[in-house]
Amino acid sequence: MASLILNTSAEFLKVRRTNAIWLTFAGALFIPSVNFLKLLSRPDIFLSQTKADPWAFMLNDNWAPAASLFLPMYVILVISLVVQIEYTNNTWKQVYASPRSYADIYFSKFFIMSSLVLLWIVLLTFFIVASGYVIEMVNSDYEFASHQIPWKQFSTIAIKMFASTLGMAAIQYWLTLLFKSFVTPIGIGMALLTGGFMIRQWEHISYYPYIYSLLVYFTNPGLEEGTSDKALLNSVVGSIIVLGLGFYHLCIRKEKG
């Protein structure tokens, strides 16, 4: 166990100064920045919309695009970037030639990816709240400070969104280990994501991991009741199954590193 903790610390060190870190910060900042500019440039439209409950407006205005597109896109990209650290530096063989169990190598990396996804969600929440306060500082007609931040709602969405990405994250992770190329797993992931939008009304859509964040965030008119909860559960259970299969495949691979 001690060695797993130490090796996970080593994995954290590896992502330092990489594009995965930049993408996490820049990606989380993008939507709040656009909304920030939107609210400040058109107070004639948004003052009235934010009047009753400014935080609920901010939460939905930021999380709606995040849940439907930006979060799954980020997951696809960041997983490839984290695994590419080993490919581009030609370090896989050194990783496998060091005294680490295959389980340690495999799961510590997935832990790092999951941590980055969680960091992205936490940063997004932080930037949403911070942008609310800054908007009011620039235009005092907005009233964010006088309203209580709905932390419970923010936290619930954050946890649900994180859980909804686990299934696709496990699939993407397996793909990045199968393909040395940076582009191939991203291409497959993007195709599956856009394909998901096209079949969104399919009655078995709750078995399609690439669209879980959208299903979990939005109400799903036209789909059976409970689709959101089913998607959430399938994401968690599916991630366990896919991670298990991916690990088994890694163990039986003839070539490592």
Binding site: K14, S101, K256
Partner: protein, 302 residues
């Protein structure tokens, strides 16, 4: 008798059926040796080293390291090995110190060990520079520093001089000799640079087309070289000399020069004595083949 740290018992490997990469290898690397693993490109050196590090999976268990079967005791064995396979494996965006820290955590060694290994490989001055700014020689040195972090008994190095300039090659050679002599490391080093191996190895294994053609001490290889020596002679009377040596496979190579194959040192002395006793002046008597490369070529082309 010196114990073998590495022993393979009929190691065979193929990536695809009918495409055999290694055939029945019996490698023995004695403790305390520098074992030069020689072979031309594509001979199977890297595949062998990858098998020794568990990077390739095989069904039977023909590899024993430190007296333990690798397949059964992978982690125990790898804890006692430092390795460098092909190019240096470094994280370019991290500094030298940070690269060492990544592996220090894996090997759970003392923090001070980072500075000790940087000192051993002479990289203290560049410790805080990013690895991507290092020259190839510095990268190789940092990669060797990583292999030394946990003070392993055995180093497995795949072509550590590959791509280095002459100065870098000399530095690497001195470093390896120092690690063997001062720090008592057993080193298995692969190379296709035969002259390099000749300068550092105590033991040699020659592989070609996946088969081990020779294995023994450097002295044994040099003995073999003597056995296969062709002498070049320069004499004043070439016709008389040819007549005297007619029972040997003599070949005239110039107006006053001959080449004669000899089996050992005694034959060389006897040959000289015969010529001198018969009033033939010998101006030059030297081996026409002088280095390991010739022996190597003879072995692989046999």
């Amino acid at each position: 008798m010196t114990a073998s740290l590495i022993k393979t018992n009929g190691l065979e490997f193929c990536f695809k059926k009918n495409e055999v990469i290694l055939r029945n290898l019996h490698i023995e690397v004695p403790k305390g040796s520098i074992y030069g693993f020689l072979g031309p490109n594509g001979a199977g050196k890297t595949t062998t080293l990858r098998l020794l590090l568990g990077l390739l999976k095989i069904d039977n268990n023909p590899i024993s390291i430190f007296g333990k079967e690798l397949a059964m005791h992978r982690l125990q064995v790898l804890r006692r090995i430092g390795s460098l396979i092909e190019q240096p494996s470094l994280y370019g965006q991290l500094t030298g110190t940070e690269n060492l820290e990544v592996y220090r955590l894996t090997y759970s060694c003392r923090k001070e060990r980072i500075y000790e290994v940087l000192h051993i490989v002479g990289l203290t001055h560049a410790a805080n520079k990013k690895a991507k700014t290092y020259s190839l020689g510095m990268k190789q040195r940092l990669a060797i520093a990583i292999t030394l972090l946990h003070d392993p008994e055995l180093l497995i190095l795949d072509e550590p001089t590959n791509g280095l300039d002459p100065t870098g090659i000399i530095e690497m050679r001195e470093l390896l000799i120092g690690l063997n002599k001062e720090y008592k490391k057993t080193i298995l080093v692969s190379s296709h640079l035969l002259t390099e191996v000749e300068k550092i190895a105590t033991h040699v294994g020659i592989i070609h087309h996946g088969s081990l053609l020779f294995q023994g001490t450097l002295a044994e290889l040099q003995q073999m070289k003597t056995l296969n020596t062709v002498l070049e002679l320069e004499v004043d009377n070439i016709e008389n000399a040819k007549l005297l040596l007619q029972d040997m496979d003599v070949r005239q190579t110039g107006e006053f020069t001959l080449q004669v194959p000899v089996e050992n040192r005694e034959s060389m002395a006897a040959l000289n004595s015969t010529l001198v006793r018969n009033d033939i002046k010998v101006y030059k008597l030297s081996p026409a083949s002088t280095n390991l490369e010739d022996v190597f070529i003879q072995i692989i082309s046999a």
